[in-house]
Symmetry: C2
Subunit: 200 residues, 2 copies
């Protein structure tokens, strides 16, 4: 059976990394895609393992051939999710998780309506603020910038299929697992079963 394409977004501080790590301990077979990037490899980064490293010209060519599920600019570098690689993993029966922002997520959904969009939300605005302050890695100004971006992001959550509130990591991971297990049971993934059954 083809795997499910799972897209996870959420504001910084929602705990995506922590919840996804916990999910890996209770659900096997979740695979990360590999992004295409125009930035140079850093020390130790391997082509086809950490990224697919491409020139700006190559990236443009891929864009013109509609080969990305979504792209994003970070400073003057470009990143994209290559459709061919995601499709390869899905056809191998692997569930593919993309951890991308809300703009990218909605692009993926437009290209692949069967993709499952999950918004991971902090339990409340004040809880998010506490987490960001608690990290102690950012200035007050940076934190208030993040918080105002969060309000924008949460507004887009309405377009997602699911909202998982990360109040407690184990519970949030369990909720993600349920969504993924259920996704395999969707009728669209079982049409072969129906056909086989009818043929007897």
């Amino acid at each position: 059976m083809r795997g499910s394409l799972i897209v996870i977004s959420g504001p910084s501080g929602a705990g995506k990394g922590t919840v996804l790590s916990r999910l890996d301990t209770i659900y096997y077979g979740l695979t990360r895609s590999i992004s295409v990037t125009t930035r140079a490899p850093r020390k130790g980064e391997v082509e086809g393992v950490h990224y697919f490293f491409r020139s700006d010209k190559q990236f443009d060519e891929m864009l013109s051939r509609n080969e990305f599920l979504e792209t994003a600019n970070v400073y003057d570098k470009r990143y994209g999710t290559p459709a061919f690689y995601v499709d390869k993993l899905l056809s191998e029966g692997k569930d593919v998780v993309l951890e991308i922002d809300t703009v990218g997520a909605l692009n993926v959904k437009a290209m692949r309506p069967e993709a499952i969009l999950i918004f991971l939300a902090p339990p409340s605005f004040s809880a998010l603020k506490d987490r960001l302050v608690g990290r102690g890695t950012e200035s007050e100004e940076q934190i208030s910038l993040r918080l105002s971006k969060t309000a924008e992001e949460i507004a887009k959550a309405e377009k997602y299929d699911y909202i998982v509130i990360n109040d407690e990591v184990d519970m949030a991971a369990e909720h993600l697992r349920s969504i993924i297990v259920a996704s395999h049971l969707r009728t669209v993934n079982n049409t072969d079963f129906i056909k086989d059954f009818m043929r007897r």
Copy 2:
């Protein structure tokens, strides 16, 4: 939070009763609705516990007021799922399970698009035949009638949201649980959360 309306159908011999009993041991809060019927109470049956017993005239009145999510005739008696009772349970936050046939299920979906339709299927045609023969409660003729009805029913499974194959009872119950847990996380059930978050 409002509960989920879960509709389960499947051919006779698919194991609905067994799987739902197993589900009750791993998932709490699943509530059965109570049907309205025009048949007379049997010994020990209590109004509002086993059925809502109504006259044919009362049933007609309920029909004319569009008070049923679905109805069915069994011999000359009528049965119906009362919307008011299902709504009461859902608004109390209970998940309501309706175990009804495919015609009824598609009627419920038409009235309540948020209902989740799950088709519980036997693993194969031959497995189903073996189960029915193994029960030893029906004649060969009755069994072959059931099997031909099953083919009709499976064809309707394409209109369901999910197909759960009852190959192994524990797994099938676990799959139902995942579908129900995931249903609570649907964005449509979390719009209040988004609003509260935005208000801060």
